[in-house]
Every structure is written in structure tokens, then in C-alpha cells.
């Protein structure tokens, strides 16, 4: 083998393992940073929603052999609930919209306008999340607070969770809507691409059997390319789970108060890490930091699980899976 070839092989190998090494080392680093918290809190980290950094300027106390500020208590339940509920709401809003955009773009619009629409949708993905957050605070929250939420509370109060007092417009609904805006481009572009990659013969075959546009769209997205549809949705879910800035701005960033309805303020794991980090760094025992690292560990675990499940479903949804059913 030529020397240049050997060098080239070595570097391609190096580049190929960089992502794996990076992923593992980040996880190890964050986990290591969180170790004191696990010793301090144990399983109670998962069973309480209270989050209290304690009195950082008093003499630290020793709990389970670990130094911590007096009065400190850490539980992730409120943040976990917020993360899961805002992401779920975002997917619930984003999926049908992405689906309808895809049908419209693929089956109803002329090719010229389609190109324009698709590039517009992709541009949306490039808007910084802080801008979404700003828009959420200035435009969305007042509308929710003055118009939408009062109407919902009045007319939809028979649905559990939609009965209750309206606070400020910030909270679960605002976060879900903002998140859905952020993931619609992702979900849509994956579904549109998979639609484009369906062979022309298959599309024409469906039409020539007398299928309507709606039937063709429904069949292609939910059956023929189900793997891509599910994959795209989970990709969006992954983005929603980890999104920080915009949610931080419109969630109400609450701690220690559990939501009582969909109108309540909420908080997510990622937003909590960002907003609580500053004060955590002033804790000389580093326990506060360890607690945020523990949140990071759980967040990573959830995101990883989502993508693993996504892959599994996507694999099952491949063409081979339908043969003989």
C-alpha cells in the first residue's frame, strides 16, 4: 500500500470515530459531574418536584458523606413533566400541519411554487431560537392571554386540564406552539423528501387505479414511506426535547409550583439548566452544579432513547416489513 493511501485511511478512520468518541466523552463528563448529586439525593431526585439550591452563604453541612448547602433539595419532576408535555404538545400541533403542507406542496401546487415553498420552509429552520422566543413574548403571549385562553377556559372547560385560572399567557401552551413552529420545518422537510423519493411509477400507479390526491398522499406518507414519516417526527421530537432558549422565554420558567392546568407556567429540563446555571456556579460545594449535571444526564438519556426507538420503528417500517401482511 502506498504511504499516502495509508495516511488517508488513517485520517478517514480518525474522522469516522470522532462522533462516537465525542458522544461518549460528553456523556461521561456530564455523568461524572453529577455524581455528588446521586450520593446526596439518591432516588428522591426522581420522586420530588421541589428544587431548592439551599443557603449558599451558610456553613455547608454533610449529607451522606457529601458537602452541601443547608436546606438544599433537588427533584426533577416538574422539569421532566414540562419537557415531556411541551414536546408532546409541539408534536401534536406540528405533525398534522407538516402533513398538510406536504400534501399541498406535493400534489396541489405547481412545481415552480413548490420549489419556493420548500425553500421558505427550510429557511424557517434557520431562524435563531431567541427570535422565536422574542416573538413569543411580544406577539403570542398577549394573544393567548387576552383572546385564546379565556375562550378555551370558557368553552372547552369540559376537557380535563382546560379548566382553570389564566395567569399570563406564558406556559405550556405558548411553549408548545413555539416549539411546534421550530420543528415544523424539520418534520416537513423529511416528509417532503421522502415523498419526492417515491418512484414516479408508484405515484402514477396509485392515480391510475383511481385514487384521489388525498388517498395517494395518505397512503404514501402513512404506509409506503412510514419509516421516513416516523423518523422525521422523532427528529422533530428530539429537537423539541432539547430546545432551550425559546422555551425559557415563553414557559414562565417556574420552579417549585406544579402546574394545575394547561394555562399554568411550566419549565423544562433544558431551560432549567440554562436559567439556574448562573447561581449554581456560586455554590462553593458544587452540589448545585451537580444537580444541573444530573438534569443533563436524564435529558441526554431521554433524547438518546427517543432516537433509538425512532430507529427501531423506522427499521420496522421499511418496505420489507409490509410483505405478506
Amino acid at each position: 500500500m502506498k504511504a499516502t493511501n495509508r495516511i488517508f485511511n488513517f485520517f478517514t478512520f480518525l474522522m469516522a470515530i470522532v462522533p462516537a468518541v465525542a458522544l461518549i466523552s460528553i456523556f461521561v463528563f456530564v455523568f461524572q459531574e453529577s455524581l455528588p448529586l446521586w450520593k446526596f439525593s439518591g432516588l428522591s431526585f426522581f420522586t420530588t418536584y421541589l428544587w431548592n439550591p439551599g443557603f449558599q452563604y451558610q456553613q455547608p453541612i454533610i449529607v451522606h458523606g457529601i458537602l452541601a448547602p443547608p436546606g438544599a433539595q433537588f427533584g426533577l419532576d416538574l422539569f421532566l413533566l414540562g419537557t415531556l408535555s411541551t414536546s408532546a404538545l409541539a408534536i401534536l400541533i406540528a405533525f398534522p400541519i407538516s402533513f398538510l403542507i406536504t400534501l399541498n406542496v406535493e400534489l396541489y401546487l405547481p412545481a415552480r411554487i413548490k420549489k419556493f415553498m420548500v425553500s421558505m420552509i427550510e429557511l424557517f429552520a434557520g431562524i435563531p431560537s431567541v427570535v422565536y422566543g422574542l416573538w413569543g413574548i411580544i406577539v403570542l403571549e398577549p394573544i393567548l392571554f387576552r383572546n385564546v385562553e379565556p375562550w378555551m377556559a370558557q368553552h372547552l372547560s369540559f376537557i380535563p386540564g382546560l379548566k382553570g385560572e389564566i395567569y399570563s399567557g406564558a406556559g405550556l401552551i405558548a411553549s408548545g406552539i413555539i416549539l411546534s413552529f421550530m420543528i415544523i420545518p424539520i418534520v416537513t422537510s423529511v416528509i417532503v423528501n421522502s415523498f419526492d423519493s417515491v418512484p414516479k411509477e408508484v405515484k402514477e400507479g396509485l392515480f391510475s387505479l383511481g385514487a384521489t390526491k388525498w388517498e395517494v398522499g395518505k397512503y404514501l406518507t402513512t404506509r409506503y414511506s412510514r419509516a421516513s414519516t416516523v423518523g422525521g417526527t422523532l427528529l422533530g421530537l428530539g429537537r423539541a426535547l432539547g430546545e432551550t432558549m425559546a422555551v425559557l422565554m415563553v414557559s414562565g420558567a417556574v420552579t417549585n409550583i406544579l402546574p394545575t392546568s394547561f394555562y399554568s407556567a411550566t419549565n423544562t429540563m433544558s431551560a432549567a439548566i440554562a436559567s439556574l446555571l448562573d447561581s449554581a456556579l456560586t455554590d462553593s460545594t458544587r452540589m448545585d452544579l451537580a444537580a444541573l449535571a444530573a438534569l443533563g444526564v436524564v435529558l441526554m438519556a431521554i433524547s438518546l432513547t427517543v432516537s433509538l426507538i425512532g430507529r427501531k420503528i423506522a427499521g420496522r417500517g421499511s418496505l420489507r416489513g409490509y410483505e405478506g401482511d
Binding site: 412545481a111 400507479g205 387505479l209 383511481g210 384521489t212 388517498e215 409490509y322 410483505e323 401482511d325
Partner: protein, 252 residues
Amino acid sequence: MEEKVEKIIEIERLKVETKNKVILDGVDLNIFKNCVNTIVGPSGSGKSTLLRSLNRLLDMDPSMDVSGDVLFEKRNIVDIDPVELRREIGLVFQKPNPFPMSVYDNVAFGLRIQGKKLKKDEMDKMIHQALEDADLIEELGGNLKQGGTSLSGGQQQRLCIARALVLRPKVLMFDEPTSALDPIAKGKIVDLIRALKQKYTVILVTHDMNLTRKVSDYTNLIYEGKFVAKGTGSEFFESEIEEVRDFLTEAD
């Protein structure tokens, strides 16, 4: 001969064009009932476009501008609901395109989207009949659960024919149905087309002159978007028209 045979489709001054190209330049053509009507011509001459305009599949492509009249059983096709029209005029493609599902579900697909509530045994019967008419049932050995995409190329093509037949169309259009197949599979399609014209009107697009010789009742040569020769099987092959002679020489 033409006077005795009933016309099922009449194409009058059909013009199909895009912004910068004329694909069909005002063509006239009659399609005769229970005959094999063949359209031959070099690639790019507008054969496939003609087929796709007959079942209004061209409507799906907004860049195509269609004018002129196509009468299907004396009704202008623009007055017929495209979904209904496509059930009456089935289309079988060059490349077999079974859906990734079982043989049974492939054939049932058109029936199911029709929204008609068929009883299970009624549906079974129609599907068996279609597969039998497409000369596929024996080869499958009654196993309709196997995947449609795992069949051989020739079987896939006959599955696609069965899928169209189950809707009981009046006209069946074939777009180069044998060009992707091996000689044996090709032979079976030839036999099948001959058998099908007893019940259906067949429109066959091909550039395979062997196939044309074997099955065609009426042969029409299209060249750069215009028909340059039309005739019954033997008339066509003996024609002295220059384009026909050129085409036959090239094709052989």
C-alpha cells in the same frame, strides 16, 4: 374493416405542450373496441404522453397544457370525473410497479379505495378472477399472501395487470409492457394481450415491432408528435410511407 368496428375512443386535434415544447401536435386517432390498438414510434415521439392524456394522468402535471377533444364512449373526458375515468381506462406501466404489500392487497387496493363495502367472499372472488384473467393464479399456487414485490419481473407485471383488471375497465392501456422483461416473460404478456382483447379494448404503446406483428390489429406510427401512418396490421407493415419504411428498418 374500419366501418364494421365500433369506436370506443375518438381523439380529435389533441395538442399537448409545455412552455417550450410541443409534445403532441394536434393528433387525431380512433381507438377500436375489442381490438389491440398499437401506437409505435421512436422514443420521445409522444407515445406515453398520449396514453397519459387519455386517462387524464397529465392533469397531475401542471406544466402540461392540453387542448383538443378526447371522446370516451361519445363523452368528452373533461366532463368525466378523473377518478371514475381512470377506473374505466386502466394503465399498465413499462416498469412493473406493485405496491409493497401482499399480492392480495395489491389487487384489492383499487377496490378498497373505491369505498364500496364488499363482502369478504365477494372480494375474494373478484381478486381470484382478476388474477386468473392475468394468467397469474396458477403460478402463485394459491398463495396470495406473499409480497407483491418479491415476485419475478414478469409476474409483477401480470400482477399489475390483475390490479387494473379487477376494476373491470373497458379499456386497458399498456405503456411498453415488455421492455423491462426477459423473452419468456415477454411471451406470456403477448399471449395475455391476445386473450384480453376478447373482453377489453387494448391500447398498446411499444417500439417493439415483433410484439406489434404478433398482437396488433391497428397500428399507428407517431413521429414527432404527429401520426404519420395508420392501418390494420398487414396494411401497416406493407405501407410504402417513407417514415414507416425508415422506422421498420431501424427497429429491425
